[in-house]
Structure formats: structure tokens, C-alpha cells
């Protein structure tokens, strides 16, 4: 052993060298993500080519947009004089000229504030249901909104929706009075009292109050309600009504009672087996056969009913999936706690089953909202109907991209918003820890 120091060992560390330029920053990222192999490089080049071709076609077209013109030929004249004889450009002047039809249909112009107010009210009414941070008191607005929205859009006497609302109120009071005795009897009593109110009392109350205190908006015919407003009305009504109906159908399909199960299965499979168009045609052509002679109720209402039934069948299947995914122990635990059927469903089963099926439910909602475009085939003037009408006029004959882009973008915003919300909700309700 010597006490000589080991001369060949360094005593101080060297400064780290900077990494080579292709190992840092965007170059490294590109090398790893875009050009990691020959297949990957080829894919990158092909996609870049596709993107550039699309941009080369679309960018000048958007760049040459004309906003003010009375017809397509005038539009083209402006584009040719501004950007050269071979230039091609977008003619969004058609949107500028016809936006009110695409959005509101033939709704009277002086009533646009009513439609807008109804839309704002809808957002306020939906907010407390969608987000738990919103004050709970707004839920009262949500409960009243169907009547308020109906009155704002269709107008007429204020007392008509109020007397309809009172039917629910008296039914609720009857239920409250009887619920001490028996839930089943109370439900039946509430139902009967409400129906009696609607059949016998609602009309006179409406007339009487209108005579005493006439508060009314100018009434608007259903055929004047059109454009995107109509899509929203049908979509929102269908969404609100199809969820509870879907839950009932799913429970019916899972039920132990033979008849209820059979009828639910038959209904679900029938609706899921036929295209929506046939159901809409049934609503417009055949309903006159099935109802007593002389009955003629609103086409929009018929469509809402059909769209609701259609979406409810799909909803039922989605919720059934959620019910099936619950472990049996949950049902058994609910029974062990001595809960009756409805309490077990309300407190234990449904909250979990619905949480599991959120993505499917929202997908059904999105599908329903997109399907509202089919009402054009039975003569309702939704945005597609107006596009067809505009393209048939001599002024705008030959235009298509601009109109479809506008309407497509409207639908995209709503549907994409719904899917983003469902992701948010899933994250919020996630209770298991990964």
C-alpha cells in the first residue's frame, strides 16, 4: 500500500457538453414523432401533402370572400373585378342576406327578441342541471322553463301555460296529501286529479283569467317557426323527454314481470329496427288514420313525440348496458337495507348505472340532435329546408358550399359542445383512483 494519490483519476467534474442540435428542441421532437422510420416518414409526407393541397384550395377561396351582394352572379362579378378573371371565392353574402331565415325561419322579425330571450332562458334553466356550482335556486327556473319557453315562442295568452302548469301543481298537492297512506294510491290520485284539472278546469280557468287580466303575446303559427330555432326546439324537447322514458324502458326490459318485459322488448326492438324517416312519415301520413276523425294536432308536436320515442329506445339500450355493468352486490345490498324497488333504483342503482352510461347517453343526444335535420322530409322548414329553398331561387342558384358550411358549423358547435361536456362530467364523477 502506498499513500501516493491515484494520479489518473480526476478530482473535479467536467462541464456537461451541450447535446447535439438534433437531440434537442423541435428537431428532436420531429425526428421522434414524425420521421422515426420509413413508414412514419412516408405517412408524414403524405399528410403534409394532403394538408397543403387542402389549404391551397381553401385559403384563397376564403380570402376572396364577398359579404355584400344580391345574387351569385353579382358576387362572382365582384370577385372577378377584385381578384382577377380566374379567381374563385366564397360568397358569404348569401348568409348575410338570408341569415334570419336560416336561424329563425319565418318567425316575425319584431318577435326575434322573444326567440332570443327563450334561448337565454334555456341556457339559464339548463345551467343548474349541468353544473353543480350554479346556485340551486335556479332549479325553479328549470322547472318552470317548459311553460315559459312555450309561451315566449308560440305566444298567445299567458294564462294558457299557467293553467296547464296548475294541473301539475294540483296533482302534486293530491300526491302530498295521500302519500302518508300509500305511495301507489298517492301516485294514482295525483295522476287522476291532474287529468281532471286539464280536462275540466284548465279551459275555464284560462278563459276566466284572460278575461280578467289579459296578458298575451302575439301568437305565432307553428309553420312560421323554422330554421335553426326549430332544430333546437325539437332537439331540446326530445333530449329532455327521451331520458326519463329511456330509463323507464330500460327498467321495463330488466323487470321480472313478464308482460312488462315483453312489451318493453318489443317496443325497443321495433323502434331500433326501422329508420327514423319511416316513423316521421307515420307521424305525418298515418296519424290521421289512428286518431279519432277530426283530430289534427300540431306537426311540430307530432315530430317531437316521434323523435322522443325513437331516441328513448336507443337510450333504453344504453342504460341497460349501464345496469348490466353494475355488480349484483349493489342490488343485493339495496335489498338488504330494506329499500323498496323505487327507493333502491333512485338512491343506489340509477346514480351508478347512469354514471357508467354517460358517454352512451350523450352520444344518443348528439345523434338525436343531428337527426332533427330529417324533419325537412315531412315539410318542416329546418335549416336544410331553407338551404334547399335558397338554392332553388334564381338569385342563388348554384351556390352550395357557403350555406352548408354555415349550417354545418352551427351543428358542429352544439354537438362538439355536448361531447366535451360529457368528458367533463365523466372526469367530475370519477370516484375511483387510478
Amino acid at each position: 500500500m502506498t499513500d501516493q494519490p491515484l494520479q489518473y483519476v480526476r478530482t473535479e467534474m467536467l462541464e456537461a457538453k451541450a447535446p447535439p442540435s438534433f437531440q434537442i428542441g423541435p428537431l428532436r421532437w420531429a425526428r421522434e414523432n414524425l420521421f422515426s422510420g420509413w413508414l412514419n416518414s412516408l405517412l408524414t409526407l403524405v399528410s403534409l401533402y394532403v394538408i397543403l393541397t387542402l389549404l391551397a384550395g381553401v385559403a384563397p377561396w376564403f380570402g376572396h370572400t364577398v359579404w355584400n351582394a344580391g345574387s351569385l352572379s353579382e358576387c362572382r362579378k365582384i370577385i372577378h373585378s377584385d381578384f382577377g378573371p380566374n379567381a374563385d371565392g366564397a360568397c358569404f353574402a348569401v348568409i348575410h342576406e338570408r341569415w334570419n331565415q336560416l336561424l329563425y325561419g319565418f318567425y316575425p322579425v319584431e318577435g326575434y327578441w322573444r326567440a332570443n330571450l327563450a334561448l337565454v332562458g334555456m341556457l339559464l334553466a339548463i345551467a343548474p342541471i349541468l353544473f353543480s356550482q350554479v346556485p340551486r335556486k335556479l332549479l325553479w327556473l328549470s322547472a318552470l322553463y317548459p311553460f315559459l319557453g312555450f309561451w315566449l315562442i308560440w305566444g298567445g295568452s299567458l294564462w294558457f301555460p299557467i293553467s296547464a302548469l296548475l294541473g301539475f301543481v294540483v296533482g302534486g298537492i293530491a300526491f302530498r296529501l295521500m302519500v302518508e297512506k300509500s305511495t301507489v294510491l298517492a301516485a294514482a290520485a295525483g295522476f287522476v286529479v291532474a287529468w281532471l284539472w286539464w280536462f275540466f278546469a284548465a279551459g275555464p280557468v284560462d278563459e276566466g283569467l284572460s278575461a280578467v287580466l289579459p296578458i298575451a303575446l302575439e301568437s305565432v303559427q307553428s309553420r312560421d317557426v323554422g330554421g335553426f330555432l326549430l332544430s333546437i326546439i325539437i332537439g331540446i324537447s326530445g333530449i329532455t323527454l327521451s331520458l326519463p322514458l329511456g330509463v323507464l324502458l330500460a327498467l321495463g326490459r330488466q323487470s321480472n314481470m313478464f308482460f312488462i318485459r315483453t312489451v318493453s322488448v318489443g317496443f325497443i326492438e321495433f323502434i331500433r329496427g326501422v329508420p327514423l324517416i319511416t316513423l316521421l312519415f307515420t307521424a305525418s301520413l298515418l296519424l290521421n288514420y289512428f286518431l279519432p276523425p277530426g283530430t289534427n294536432f300540431d306537426l311540430i308536436l307530432r315530430v317531437v313525440i316521434m323523435v322522443t320515442l325513437f331516441a328513448a329506445a336507443y337510450m333504453a339500450e344504453v342504460i341497460r348496458g349501464g345496469l348490466a355493468a353494475l355488480p349484483r352486490g349493489q342490488y343485493e345490498a339495496a335489498d338488504a337495507l330494506g329499500l323498496d324497488y323505487w327507493m333502491a333504483q333512485r338512491l343506489i342503482i340509477m346514480p351508478q348505472a347512469l354514471k357508467i352510461s354517460i358517454p352512451g347517453i350523450v352520444n344518443t343526444f348528439i345523434g338525436l340532435f343531428k337527426d332533427t335535420t330529417l324533419v325537412v322530409f315531412i315539410g318542416l322548414l329546418d335549416p336544410i329546408g331553407f338551404i334547399n329553398a335558397i338554392r332553388a331561387t334564381s338569385d342563388w342558384n348554384g351556390i352550395y358550399w357557403e350555406l352548408y358550411i354555415f349550417v354545418g358549423a352551427l351543428f358542429f358547435v352544439f354537438c362538439y359542445g355536448m361531447s366535451k361536456y360529457s368528458m367533463y362530467l365523466e372526469r367530475k364523477l370519477q370516484t375511483d383512483h387510478h
Binding site: S47, F258, I277, N288, C415
Partner: protein
């Protein structure tokens, strides 16, 4: 439910129908059935009364009367003297045809897009995400109408192909003509055709039958060759060289048959004001096909992506650790498991395509809805009969597709014990 109730000693009381769990479900069902029957009776009575008032009866005899209208795309012989029933059949075949080609194209597109969306390549993954999101969030009807509008407004007229220096050109070495009147493809023709067999309802081409038979036989022979190679490999450990035999078995018979039949392509040619020869696919067909495939392809892409992501990485790693090649890992380990997740939602996408073909109404494609539920309905005024029959047919198609696919699903499902 807690069903253990001590049987009451006293006699039956009416309130037990509601409060006693032994009778309650019976009570509910009886009341339910009573209400349902009452509702159904009411509807049927109304219908009978309304038909009576209108002076109509309920009969399907119109199916055997002369239709009197033309159908522009038909796979079986049909003219305006044919019956409404035959018109319905032509429409049904058109519906099935568009549904089938859309299912095939949507599957191909969807699988490619789904796999590419999982790619590590950022640009490709984003591009596929944009494709999927834009098609899933915009109504199918808009896509059908846009594509139809592009086909009719932006495609060149047949006139543009004329002259020494035409402004439009045919695609793929002058074989496919895209015009505003539709797309013209080359059609397969035979110099020495074997003729057709008349089945009474429609004609069957013997050439097609022969080709299918030869192909099936070749594939069976190929399977057999593979099996015998496997037996040799299991016995000796060395796999005999089979690739040239496989190629011979798969390719030679069909080539010989095609040459014997005198197979050649008939190209579309501009004659007069329009193209002659070849297969003419109308704009309505093309728009419906493209829109249905691309739209449903976006949904299938998401299904495929979910299926692949459902297989945990451990499976791939275990397969590689066992010494399987990457191709074998995919074919033997990942795909069989992913398919189990993919198939059930895929069935409902195929059903959706079939039902969505009824949107043909937007572009005037002559499908079942346009013949039976459209012109026939309007001509005969038999709304009730035509609509019920049409719904029944759609229902039958849906049930058949779902039962066939469910059968397939059961065969690949995980066998649990």
C-alpha cells in the same frame, strides 16, 4: 326483494292486491295489460272507422297491379309494365346494394383511420382526429347533400370531354369518367359468356356463378395445403416451402377461367351527348355511398381505436417475450382479443348504415323508400298498407343482420367456464 312474508291467517282482502308482494306484480301486470289492450283497441277502432269514412279497404292487392313508373337503377328486369310488387323488389335490392357497398367501404376507412389515430406520428394522429370529429358532429344529411351538390355542380359536363383539346379528362388512364351526370366505370364483359339462368323472378349470370365457384374451390385448396404443411411442420419441425404452390392454387384457376370466358373490359366512350358503354353510377348513388361510408367510417374508427386501446400493453409484451414476431403478435394475440371488443358495436354501425340508406330520399336514389314508400304509395293512395309493409321489411332486414352478426359474435366470444 325481501319476499319473506308470514302468510296472513285471515282471509283474502282487496287491499292485499296492492300491499302483498305475492299479488302486487300480478296486479300491476293485469292493470298494465288492460290499459294496453284498451289503447290498442281504441287505435284499431279509429283506423277501421277512418278507413270506412274514406271508403277504403285494407288490402295488398295493389302489389299485383301495373306500376307504370320507371326505375333508373335496377338489378333485375323491370319496366313500367311490371307490378308494384316487382318495383318494391327492385327498390329493396337497391337498398341492400347501397348498404352492402357502404358497409365495406366504411369498414376499410374506419379501420385505417382508427389505427392511424393511435399512431405516434403527431400530424397523422391530428389529421385523423379532425376527420373523426368533423364527421361525427355534423349531420349525415348535410354530408349527403354537400357531396351531391359537388357532384352535380362542380363535376364537368360530358361535353367538356369532347374535342382535340378537352377541358376535362378521364381518370386512371382514360378508364373512369367523372361527369355531372354520374360516374362511368369500365364494365366486365365476356366474349364467350355462358349465358343466364332464369329463376322465374330474376336472371342469374352463370359466368358469375362459375367465377365464385372457382374462387371458393381455390381457397379451400389453399387451406388444405396450409394444413398439410402444418402437419409436416409438427412432425418434422421443418415447414415445407409452399409459397409457389399457394400462388399457383390461388391464381392459376381463376386466370384460366377468365381467359376461357374471354374476359375483357368495356370502357365508357363519349358518343353523341353522353357516355356510352361501361357501368353508369348515378350521382345519387355515388353521393349516398361516399357520404355513408365516410360518415360511418368516422364512427367505426372510434370503435376500432377503443378496441385496440382495451388490450393492455402486457399482452403485446408477453407475446413478444414468448418469441412471437410482431406480425404474429398482432394476428394471434392482439387482434383476436380486440375483435371481441370491436364486433358488438360494429354490428350496430352496420345496422345504422342499413337504416340510414333511407336518406336516399334526399338525392332521389331509387331505394325501397322511394319505390314502395314513395311513388307506389302516392299512386295507389295506400298509405297504411305501404308504410306497414315498408316498416316490416326494414325490421326484417335489421333482425336478419343482427342475428347473423350475433351468431358470428358468439363464435369469437371468449369461452368462459
Amino acid at each position: 326483494m325481501a319476499d319473506i312474508t308470514i302468510p296472513p291467517k285471515d282471509s283474502f282482502r282487496l287491499s292485499m292486491l296492492i300491499y302483498d308482494t305475492r299479488y302486487r306484480s300480478l296486479t300491476i301486470q293485469v292493470v298494465f295489460m288492460f290499459l294496453l289492450m284498451a289503447g290498442a283497441t281504441w287505435l284499431v277502432n279509429n283506423t277501421i272507422y277512418n278507413l270506412h269514412v274514406l271508403g277504403k279497404d285494407f288490402s295488398y292487392s295493389f302489389l299485383w297491379s301495373r306500376a307504370g313508373y320507371d326505375i333508373n337503377q335496377r338489378f333485375i328486369a323491370y319496366n313500367s309494365d311490371s307490378t308494384h310488387g316487382r318495383a318494391m323488389l327492385v327498390g329493396l335490392l337497391n337498398t341492400l346494394f347501397i348498404a352492402f357497398i357502404s358497409c365495406v367501404a366504411a369498414t376499410v376507412l374506419g379501420v385505417i383511420a382508427g389505427v392511424l389515430r393511435l399512431s405516434k406520428n403527431w400530424v397523422v394522429a391530428k389529421l385523423m382526429a379532425i376527420y373523426v370529429e368533423s364527421f361525427r358532429n355534423i349531420p349525415l344529411l348535410i354530408w349527403i347533400l354537400v357531396i351531391f351538390a359537388v357532384m352535380t355542380e362542380a363535376a364537368p359536363a360530358p361535353n367538356a370531354f369532347r374535342g382535340a383539346n378537352p377541358s376535362a379528362h378521364m381518370w386512371f388512364f382514360d378508364t373512369i369518367a367523372v361527369t355531372n351526370r354520374g360516374v362511368y366505370f369500365p364494365e366486365p364483359l365476356f366474349f364467350r359468356s355462358l349465358g343466364n339462368i332464369d329463376l322465374g323472378i330474376f336472371l342469374v349470370s352463370t359466368d358469375l356463378l362459375a367465377i365464385i365457384a372457382v374462387m371458393v374451390l381455390s381457397i379451400l385448396g389453399y387451406k388444405r395445403l396450409q394444413r398439410s404443411a402444418e402437419t409436416v411442420q409438427n412432425a418434422t419441425g421443418i415447414r415445407p416451402v409452399t409459397w409457389w404452390k399457394s400462388a399457383l392454387i390461388l391464381i392459376a384457376p381463376i386466370v384460366i377461367l377468365l381467359v376461357a370466358l374471354g374476359f375483357h373490359l368495356g370502357y365508357p366512350e363519349l358518343k353523341g351527348f353522353n357516355f356510352r358503354g361501361g357501368v353508369h353510377a348515378r350521382n345519387s348513388l355515388i353521393a349516398l355511398w361516399v357520404a355513408l361510408s365516410v360518415y360511418t367510417g368516422a364512427f367505426i374508427a372510434e370503435i376500432v381505436r377503443a378496441g385496440i386501446q382495451a388490450i393492455s400493453r402486457g399482452q403485446t409484451e408477453a407475446a413478444l417475450a414468448l418469441g412471437l414476431k410482431p406480425g404474429q403478435t398482432t394476428n394471434l394475440v392482439v387482434l383476436p382479443q380486440a375483435l371481441r371488443v370491436i364486433i358488438p358495436p360494429m354490428i350496430s354501425e352496420y345496422l345504422n348504415i342499413t337504416k340510414n340508406t333511407s336518406l336516399a330520399i334526399a338525392v332521389g336514389y331509387m331505394d325501397l323508400r322511394a319505390t314502395l314508400g314513395g311513388i307506389t304509395l302516392n299512386q295507389t293512395g295506400r298509405e297504411l298498407e305501404a308504410m306497414l309493409l315498408m316498416m316490416g321489411i326494414y325490421l326484417a332486414i335489421s333482425l336478419i343482420i343482427s342475428s347473423v352478426m350475433n351468431f358470428y359474435n358468439r363464435s369469437v366470444k371468449l369461452k368462459e367456464r
